[in-house]
Amino acid sequence: MSSNALIKGSLQTIILKLLEENEKMYGYEITQKVKELTAGEIKITEGALYPALHKLEAEGLLTTEIQQVDNRVRKYYSLTKDGQKEVSFKLAELQSFVESMQRIINPGLKPELGI
């Protein structure tokens, strides 16, 4: 399982990317989707997920929708227009970070960097 500190740093990007692909999702669904996509390698804890979702909503990047499911309400999150713009920015930022990390970890790997 990946380190929690590593996941925490890219959690917002993970959420935004998932919502870009899935239109709308609820909290538990996000945790399961991440688990499924990474074959259980990355497990998002509730302790990190919900504060991140609430923060993104407060920043105007996510909007919510309440739906009645059986005898309870379910809160769905989806991207706002600002959120859609932010996804590409965050992804580019993460991509650049990963490339920089690769340069440090594998100094011999240079082809993708055009060096």
């Binding site: 909290g27 538990y28 669904e29 504060p51 923060k55 909503e57 309440i66 309870r72």
Partner: protein, 228 residues
Amino acid sequence: MRKLTEQELKLVQQTMIKKHITSAELLMEIYDHYISHLERFSAEDFDKELIELNKHWTCIYCETLEKELFKNINKSIRRSQWGLIKSFFSWPKLVFTFFLITTITLLANSLEAKLQRMLLVMPPLFFLLALIVFVGATSLLRIRRIKRLFNAIELKIDSTYSRYFVTYLFLPISFFNLGIYTPKLLGTDNFLPEYLSNFSVVSFSFFLYIYSISAYEAWKIKSKTALI
């Protein structure tokens, strides 16, 4: 995936009550998380999974999450309303804003002082008061439904959105009271010359109109997604 039995649902609800969550929004979100998780397991695994969930969702964790939520909801309401206020100064609302200023100024100049002040300030204040009552009543009805679902009328929860929203609605009313009573208390109510006093009333009423309209617009947006 299976549906939980009535007994299992009751157990989950009792677990929720023990967490002492006061925010209805958070309570419903955690409740949905619990049920979504438990529905994926067989009845034999129910107890084990419930214990597992409780290990993550401790009372202290819920309290921390709730505090974070309060901050975020407060920020979210402020952001929405400020965004709406800013939009009044952009095309095409700019035309409406100028029309409003002109009408208010004409009214202020053509009426007798006391009457003009009343006419300018009272409508938005009454509108805000009516909105407070409406938001409070709607929220109360929704909270009652949640309490009924949990079979716990004594449950101490309220809508966080509603609480912060009502506080925002009260803000101009408090300023109004402050503006009226402070000079009276200090004996300086006749201190300002009439033209300056009129100007203050016009400015305040302009702020009141913008604030009331934006508050109503913000409520319309938030009421679709929150428990208010």
